[in-house]
Symmetry: D2
Subunit: 144 residues, 4 copies
């Protein structure tokens, strides 16, 4: 697996992201995955902000998350992200979240996106973007 | 399908729930589903708050959401919720979200929960709770 | 105080709105205040959604919140909202939040808004809107 | 002003933090301020997580935020944080947010906290913590 194809970010669980169960709330994971996806694109040289300014948005069509050990306030998490499928009208990203401190698996996920214009109509991904988004076999098992 | 087994709530999309794509952010849906699940329990006579005070928490183990038409600010949404599977150590809820104004389908979802104690260890669901949570065949097709 | 000038909404604290202190997170209050403000406008016959579609946005310029007793998961809260000041380039709303069940005061707040266009440039409030937004003396003491 | 007394963090505005006005939602600022406050404590050698485990929580009693230029998706923001007032039963933090890229001022804020125990009863700050939290004159003008 090339380093170019699996990106990695780290983030720390914020207090506001916890709930009264004392763990990060499960909806928050989707926010982290989005953040990882945007950083993945940045490493490929793609600014999602510029992409939107050019009229291309990536609308979320499907999400699947499998939760492992809970993430807690102040935990530093590592999110790995890669492209699972890539076509002119569909992108699927895979994710693996763990806690580097002890190597505990926190979650795995898959998110499907569809390119749309400013009025949410499906469009084709620009060719140069599609060329960058090379799908790879899942480097981590996703128990979805 | 009995009215007892499929609950229904309505809510209005808040401004803070939108993102700059001009639609409700996809992570927000999990918050709505949680809200629908808690109201589903309330209609069965179960207060989730009391349940927690008795030491039983329902930890989210898996989420799957399929997004249809976007939900927009100020839209009134209807969320239907039912039990898909029910066992002493596993609960699966199904969801169907639409916009009553025009009948447009907004999303379908499935959320798997596991009963845990205050230290996040898996426990068995209290018998009287399990007896209330009768699984029914999906009343709506879930394209997950 | 006329009923027309002080609006009232009720909402229930969602699980996702709590944090690990076991209370509603303090940032969430601003989301509730926004919701109350939009409902206040609706009762005056103003749809904030339509307002935005006509090119008028109300950008938040200042917020002040004084927190009293904590709001807890599943609490039903009552938010009263009124106009404190109203001018062509400035609106100030006042808020009082309590818990009807026991009458406990949860928070008081003041939020200042400025009308802007789609590019965030300050504009004048449409005359017909300004006429509806009549300022009243604070019906509750705001300890800001 | 010593470097020890004014801390600085940087963060990037997440997509989920925007709203349909195309800017970061105003409630989100309180989440960022909390994050800055926790990092401020960390630099003083205080882990807020450990503090909570020892039974000391800092409950928010008052927030005041003045919003300047809007923060936008993907903007890198700098948050400076300092102690404005410090006493055994009250802490006030000051904040200044700007965008380093162009030096634009985004917001100033003040947040008042009260030490409480696990049941939200006011307690005294531990002496060794209080000794670390030395108040300084505001290094930036807060237009609150």
């Amino acid at each position: 697996m090339s380093r170019d194809t699996v990106s990695e970010i780290r983030l720390r669980v914020r207090y506001a992201e916890t709930d009264q169960m004392g763990v990060a709330h499960h909806a928050q994971y989707l926010v982290w995955l989005e953040h990882a996806r945007i950083e993945h694109l940045r490493r490929l040289g793609v600014s999602y902000r510029s992409l939107e300014e050019q009229g291309v948005r990536l609308a979320v069509a499907k999400t699947q998350v499998r939760y492992g050990a809970p993430a807690r306030f102040d935990d530093e998490l590592r999110i790995r992200c890669w492209v699972r499928e890539s076509a002119s009208r569909l992108l699927v990203f895979g994710y693996h979240i763990d806690r580097p401190l002890d190597g505990i698996a926190i979650a795995t996920a898959s998110v499907t996106l569809v390119p749309v214009d400013g009025r949410m109509r499906v469009i084709r991904l620009p060719r140069e973007l599609l060329d960058l988004l090379v799908a790879v076999p899942d480097p981590f098992k996703l128990s979805l």
